[in-house]
Symmetry: C2
Subunit: 142 residues, 2 copies
DNA sequence: GTGATTTCCTTTCCGAATGAAAATAGATAC
DNA sequence: GTATCTATTTTCATTCGGAAAGGAAATCAC
């Protein structure tokens, strides 16, 4: 594929931005031996190519009161339409990630809620679409 | 807990930054009816409180050639030390997330590799620590 | 009620970063 | 050698971000 689209310098810039996107172009330039403007041009290109899809912040879920963290494997009912399930996923703010999977189950997702009661309520809404298997995350390793 | 630490305006600012951390303080200020400087002071406070933990970019894994996406449940050997497993996780760049779980298995993790061969090699290294169950992600829903 | 204190916001100001345009260097084809 | 194309540097105007000073509102002691 388009592997020649990105050179080593692009990858260096990306790695730096992944760690800290507030680095100035000039600071990044020091690491890759370029002026800030050249770095800026490359970053603009990475955005236009769709390699960089956006800028965001990292945040502490516990500081926001999200104390419950669960991993859920979803086994969709055979009659349940995937489309309506996708709408469900999109509408539930407590679902942080969700993937269609091949292997065990139909979907896998990770959720955070502020309390066991909220998790319980979410599972009640989820069970309309199918069965599930749940594990609680008791620590983030990475 | 410290729920009174964050007011509605702080949450609004956080939500905006989660969507796009390149918004200027002034732009955010328009949404919350404050000057850019006031927004900047609140953001600084959110950083000092540890609510905001960092700034990063979103990126397209396929544009970087990471075509294989897998979800792995790890069942650690009873003799295997957790400490050495954590070092393993930290050293493997292809592991993007990992959590200690209570429920099915000991750890859960999500990995991306550029090829099935690389996934195979990663699993070879993983199997020293225990057993695993693997699902392939075939689409990101959220 | 008065005054002091604290907190938070606005105003003002300056250094630094960003983004655009023009000039320059390096590589390639012919 | 000449033309051409791409990527970088240089230069410049605009904007942003952070610090300091001043002011409004809430709290508290008395």
């Amino acid at each position: 594929m388009g592997q020649t689209l990105l050179d080593e310098i692009d990858l260096l810039i990306l790695r730096q931005l992944m760690q800290d996107s507030t680095l100035s172009h000039k600071e990044i330039g020091r690491a890759v031996h370029m002026t800030g403007q050249a770095v800026g041009a490359r970053i603009r290109r990475l955005r236009e190519l769709g390699v960089i899809t956006g800028y965001s912040i990292g945040w502490d879920p516990e500081k926001l009161g999200l104390n419950v963290h669960a991993l859920i494997t979803v086994f969709l009912n055979s009659g349940s339409a995937h489309q309506t399930f996708l709408q469900f996923v999109a509408s539930e703010e407590e679902i942080e990630e969700a993937y269609r999977v091949s292997g065990e189950g139909c979907y896998w997702m990770r959720v955070r809620t502020e309390s066991p009661e909220r998790l319980n309520a979410l599972l009640d809404r989820l069970v309309k679409y199918g069965n599930y298997k749940l594990s609680l995350a008791i620590g983030q390793v990475k």
